[in-house]
């Protein structure tokens, strides 16, 4: 087994040897937040089967049920555990589908970011020269401009150009595409730094002498040794993308109205809140914070757990 393989599989090896699991058990905050995250994810995945109502089914909506407070409230209805929104839709069902939407956008956008950022970072670090300068310059520019601002501009303009109706046919895909393409610099920067540290090591030189192609060396030899920081960034970015999706949907340029999303629910609930109906906007808000906080805390723990300095102490 060569050095690259050895290091590359160390995350899995440590999972197998239960070291990560033991570390997780020792850290209360991380344990609780990963349980919450797991619960939210399972709820989201099973939303079509678990949710009491189908938010997309107009037959199940009754305007007579509109604006009902949560069930524990004295005017609440036991059919609607978390109350109903202004159109009589069950908030619990919309919430479950909304979390599903958030995680779905988060997953695909981060996958896209990871691919793009990894490719650019590897090339910048490995080839150096003008490629490095160009990629890093673009990364600076993108970081300063911020992915959220770019997404707002691109999505808003597309919406104005297509009209609200046509736009909402495409907006879920567009959202993933924009958030996925805009947020690559963090991966690229981190990876570039790791590649610069790795590329003068002996195993790379050996692979070069053996005549492997650059692509093979980059992907099969160097990349496996730089996976840990990428994993941490990707986890953090899921929270970032979910937050951006919520903000865009809140502004009315993200997910379509019929498609439940946490930000969209908060946006449409805001007006009701001005007349005292707090639950329509605040319940999705609490769910969003729970989701973001649990992802951030898990990422925080992952960073410490995968840090080579801490690994040394553990073994």
């Amino acid at each position: 087994m060569n050095a690259a393989q050895y290091h590359g599989h160390h995350i899995w090896r440590r999972f197998r040897r239960q070291q990560l699991w033991l570390q997780l058990k020792a850290n209360k905050v991380a344990l609780i937040s990963s349980v919450i995250l797991l619960l939210l994810t399972v709820t989201a995945l099973l939303a079509p089967w678990l949710s009491p109502f189908d938010p997309a089914d107009l037959q199940q909506q009754n305007i007579m049920d509109a604006e009902l407070p949560p069930a524990w409230h004295e005017q609440g209805d036991s059919r609607f555990l978390l109350g109903t929104d202004g159109l009589g839709r069950d908030i619990l069902s919309s919430l479950m589908h909304g979390i599903r939407t958030s995680l779905w956008v988060g997953f695909w956008a981060v996958l896209l970011q990871l691919t793009l950022g990894t490719a650019l970072g590897l090339c910048a670090g490995y080839f150096g020269g003008w490629m490095d300068r160009l990629v890093m310059r673009l990364a600076d520019f993108q970081l300063t401009f911020s992915s959220l601002m770019l997404a707002i501009l691109v999505l808003a303009i597309t919406r104005a150009a297509m009209g609200a109706h046509d736009y909402h046919v495409w907006s879920p895909w567009l959202l993933i595409l924009v958030l996925g393409l805009a947020d690559w610099p963090q991966y690229a920067r981190t990876l570039r730094a790791s590649v610069l540290a790795e590329k003068h090591k002996d195993y790379v030189a050996a692979a070069q002498v053996l005549g492997y192609r650059s692509r093979h060396i980059m992907v099969m030899q160097i990349l496996p040794n730089t996976l840990s920081p990428l994993l941490v960034i990707a986890t953090l970015q899921v929270a970032h993308v979910i937050l951006a999706e919520a903000a865009l949907s809140f502004l009315g340029i993200g997910m379509p109205y019929g498609n439940p999303s946490l930000g969209g629910m908060m946006g449409s609930g805001f007006e009701y809140m001005l007349s005292g109906l707090w639950w329509i906007a605040l319940i999705p808000g609490v769910a969003l914070v729970l989701l973001l906080l649990s992802i951030n805390l898990v990422a925080d723990w992952l960073r410490d757990a995968l840090d080579p300095k801490n690994i040394g102490q553990q073994q």
């Binding site: 300063t144 911020s146 959220l148 340029i253 809140m273 707090w278 973001l292 951030n296």
Partner: protein
């Protein structure tokens, strides 16, 4: 000589970026309002932009530049009050958490700020509106209140109603930015406190307050300026969300209205103005960096 070259190259890059953005905004104009580009080709449009004419809004029938300039005071005052609030809270809290990192209160402040990062600006805004406007009925939730003209500047900071109106939006925006800057200031201060000059100062018996303020805070200002410059896009996005939440009649609201009304010329004008603002902010951040950085100052005076 080196200075002249760097200033020149910066100017040329900026000009190129603005031309590029103007081309994009021409394309956007054609996408949103095809009729507008019917009798106007790209070259004519670029010349128009270069002469300072950003076209006319389809909805307001007024010059776009004028519309944006009218909305600018609202945004500027919101940002000003927000940054004052943030500095007022962040500096004492940052100093405290850096001087006594193990103190119970300091640790809970940092824990709360970690949670604060996960709090979206529109949620804090909604909660504040619910408590202060709906439940307690203390503060208004939308608009700017009464404004007083100072020359061509409509200021809301001279009337009681203006102050009442700015409270919620500014507090919301500050709460969104606080955790970010608090964590940064604390990290910087912790680093500065370990540095040799500070240790020497401590050994010489200089009073702690003097060390914290003149050695610590001054050296930690630099990264904060860089950070604010680097995060300008995020700051702008947050301001836009806060403005549309509170219907604050600033540039962000104007842009969202232009989008909702498919007002092509106004959207295109916004793109160019945002690019110009961006370039100026990064130039100002660099200049400020030069002013606050003692190394650069010494190099300049040599």
């Amino acid at each position: 000589m080196n200075n002249v070259v760097s200033v020149l190259s910066r100017l040329i890059t900026s000009a190129l970026i603005i031309i590029l953005v103007a081309m994009v905004s021409y394309w956007v104009l054609g996408l949103i309002s095809p009729a507008e580009t019917h009798n106007l080709n790209l070259a004519q449009y670029l010349l128009q932009v270069a002469s300072g004419d950003l076209g006319q809004s389809q909805f307001y029938h007024q010059a776009n530049l004028q519309l944006v300039l009218q909305a600018l005071p609202a945004t500027f005052e919101l940002v000003l009050i927000t940054s004052l609030l943030v500095s007022l809270v962040v500096i004492p809290l940052g100093l405290f958490t850096a001087i006594a990192p193990q103190h119970k209160l300091a640790r809970s402040i940092m824990a709360v700020s970690l949670m604060g990062i996960s709090l979206p600006v529109f949620l804090t805004g909604s909660i504040m509106v619910y408590f202060f406007a709906v439940e307690l009925n203390w503060l208004p939730t939308f608009g700017r209140g009464t404004t007083v003209p100072i020359g061509s500047w409509q200021s809301g900071l001279l009337t009681v109603s203006g102050w009442q109106h700015i409270m919620l939006p500014a507090a919301t925006l500050s709460l969104a930015l606080l955790p970010l800057f608090l964590r940064l200031l604390r990290a910087e201060l912790l680093q500065v406190m370990q540095s040799n000059p500070v240790r020497l100062a401590q050994a010489m018996g200089i009073t702690p307050w003097r060390i914290w303020l003149f050695y610590g805070l001054r050296n930690a200002t630099l990264p904060m300026i860089t950070m604010a410059g680097l995060q300008f896009g995020t700051l702008m996005a947050y301001t836009l969300v806060a403005e549309s939440l509170f219907q604050w009649p600033g540039v962000g609201s104007l842009f969202m209205q232009a989008i909702n009304r498919s007002d092509g010329p106004l959207v295109a004008a916004h793109l160019i103005l945002v690019a110009i603002m961006f370039l100026s902010v990064s130039a100002i951040a660099d200049l400020a960096y030069g002013l606050f950085n003692p190394h650069l100052a010494a190099w300049r005076n040599r």
